[in-house]
Symmetry: C2
Subunit: 360 residues, 2 copies
């Protein structure tokens, strides 16, 4: 079968160039006679791969020297525990903003380890907007404020970073990682699962300001202690080497396209095509308030569950796959990460127009 | 460069057939128009991959129905914490046998969470043997006894499983996973990092008797709670999908070769070639007592650090790579996992003979 347009929320499309390169190098990486899958993580070949990946990430995201870059495992879900274990240890307090399922899960996990507080929530309107906050909303004694930057399921994003005053801000950026420039200096930590915009599943990248490290609870599992991971350059034990290699290839690809400013322009263009159509359609409607719409995840519905199901089925047959909304919300969702080409969105919109004509 | 013989202790060689198949399927898995790297972990395609992997593992290892098979992340090191968090919770006691660095690390981690006790150790002779124990050595109130089955660094293995009476036995089988048949019913849990015999790095497989589950400490990080992972069929969050896919390919390959009895015969043959030479050589010596020698990891030395270094250098040039011993012990080590062909060991021994002749 020809390659499909894959609108999966994650794991999701990877650049075809990256897949071709990985396939070509599968049995022999740069003449060393081994696959990257087979390399010792302490070999000079892999050492160069992980260092190159970090250097590229630092360059693309403009990460200051006083931030550590960690390659971790366990998904964002493991960080939901690691964050309070590492950081909620001075005053044993943390403030959470609840903008969807992932923030909720992070909040639930934090409550195991200290006084986590819900500062604001958009649960009242099924997470279709980002609640506005001001500096005064946050507890100045909180060890940190936690947000989920882009909400994969509900399709909202923070277009403006909350002002938390002197309280360190931590953000899950899984589903907007590398989709546009981000001012890392406004955060004490940002992190994300790689399986949306960066690499296959099985890798988390965390970017942590150095002064945050060193206060972990004594019984923190070693593998969740960010200081230990940082002191060992992410090689305390065997990291997910092959996934880090694919990450490196993706970062090289992003650099070749012009970096994050170029990705932003491209992603805005893609999202505009889809949102403009949703705003003009009589059949399909976006579910998010316009000012908080994500560039990456675009949920939409028709007025009928039957029509939704028919659309998803026919779209799949036409090569537009994984358009079904998250199992907790239903409807449709098009995830249009970096690797989704503009023509994928153009063709989807053409298909939606045709579907609307035929079914009106 | 031609493919090398890679004696790395892990990550390590994978069967060439597996790498070729993965490369061929990289852009389009079985006609679905996507790479396995790009698939939703909730897609029907990936659902079949993970279920096939589990079924193959159950068949190859003859795993009884009352055991759960979990696909996890974080390496063995994450399980060092998860094991006491999940299991050291009835009497808050556990017995550890110290046979090397990995058992030591597991023991250190357990002490964070309860009364972990060292029952026996082979530290007195640099872990070159397996300490003998009897049922009476173990605390009948211990929540479990912990062993490291095959010691990657020191090259020892339990040829006989310790009798722990009614106390549940837990074993790290990372470096002997699938190398020969194992009576799973003698264990409450076995687990291993996949990056030696099973798959690339980034995957742990745990096999746990069901009655062990459900007693985790309340503040156990969700991702370390085996009951939650079991209740969600390892899909609580996004698993390392591509690594699980390679695991499936390796399991298919092992089955095609005749399963674990066939692997045992092949691994014994390979190990015998190397040990027989070490026993006859005047220059090279094995470091482990004969009765506890591993089939997988064969450490050896000459009487001179200079000669060791010369040997490693010349072997590398000749295409026998990663023969350097672990950084904590020095000397040499040949890891001859399932994917190392017999001819790799034959050629290594021929090279060693030639080296001995030239340098005597």
């Amino acid at each position: 079968m020809a390659r499909v347009y894959n609108f999966s929320a994650g794991p999701s499309m990877l650049p075809e160039e990256v897949l071709r390169k990985a396939a070509a190098e599968m049995l022999d990486y740069e003449g060393c006679g081994q696959s990257v899958m087979e390399m010792s993580h302490r070999s000079k070949e892999f050492d160069k791969i992980i260092k190159d990946a970090e250097a590229l990430l630092r360059e693309l995201m403009n990460i200051p020297d006083n931030y550590k870059v960690l390659f971790l495992q366990g998904g964002a879900s493991a960080q939901f525990s690691a964050i309070p274990l590492n950081f909620m240890q001075k005053n044993n307090k943390a403030d959470y903003i609840i903008t969807g399922q992932w923030a909720k899960k992070a909040f639930a996990e934090a409550k195991k380890y200290g006084a986590a507080r819900e500062v604001a929530s958009s649960a009242d309107k099924t997470f279709t907007y980002i609640p506005k906050t001001t500096r005064e909303d946050f507890d100045p004694e909180a060890d940190y404020v936690y947000i989920c930057m882009n909400n994969t399921i509900y399709g909202t994003v923070y277009h403006e970073i909350p002002d938390t005053g002197d309280v360190p801000l931590i953000a899950d950026i899984s589903s907007c990682f590398l989709s546009e420039p981000l001012d890392v200096t406004k955060f004490a930590m940002v992190y994300g699962g790689a399986q949306k915009n960066v690499a296959p599943a099985g890798l988390v990248i965390a970017i942590i300001r150095e002064d945050m490290l060193g206060n972990a609870r004594e019984d923190t599992p070693t593998m969740m202690n960010y200081k230990i991971m940082a002191d060992n350059d992410s090689l305390y034990n065997t990291p997910p080497c092959y996934t880090i290699y694919i990450c490196k290839l993706v970062l090289e690809y992003l650099k070749s396209l012009g970096g994050l400013e170029a990705m932003k322009a491209r992603n805005e263009k893609k999202a505009k095509i889809l949102y403009d159509f949703l705003d003009s359609s009589k059949m399909f409607h976006g579910t998010v308030v316009p000012e908080d719409r994500s560039l990456m995840n675009v949920p939409f519905v028709t007025d009928s569950d039957e029509l939704n199901a028919k659309f998803i089925k026919e779209a799949t047959s036409a090569g537009f796959v994984n358009l079904k909304g998250h199992r907790t919300v239903g409807g449709m969702r098009a995830s249009i990460y970096n690797a989704m080409p503009i023509e994928g969105v153009e063709k989807l919109v053409a298909f939606m127009k045709e579907f609307e004509e035929k079914n009106s």
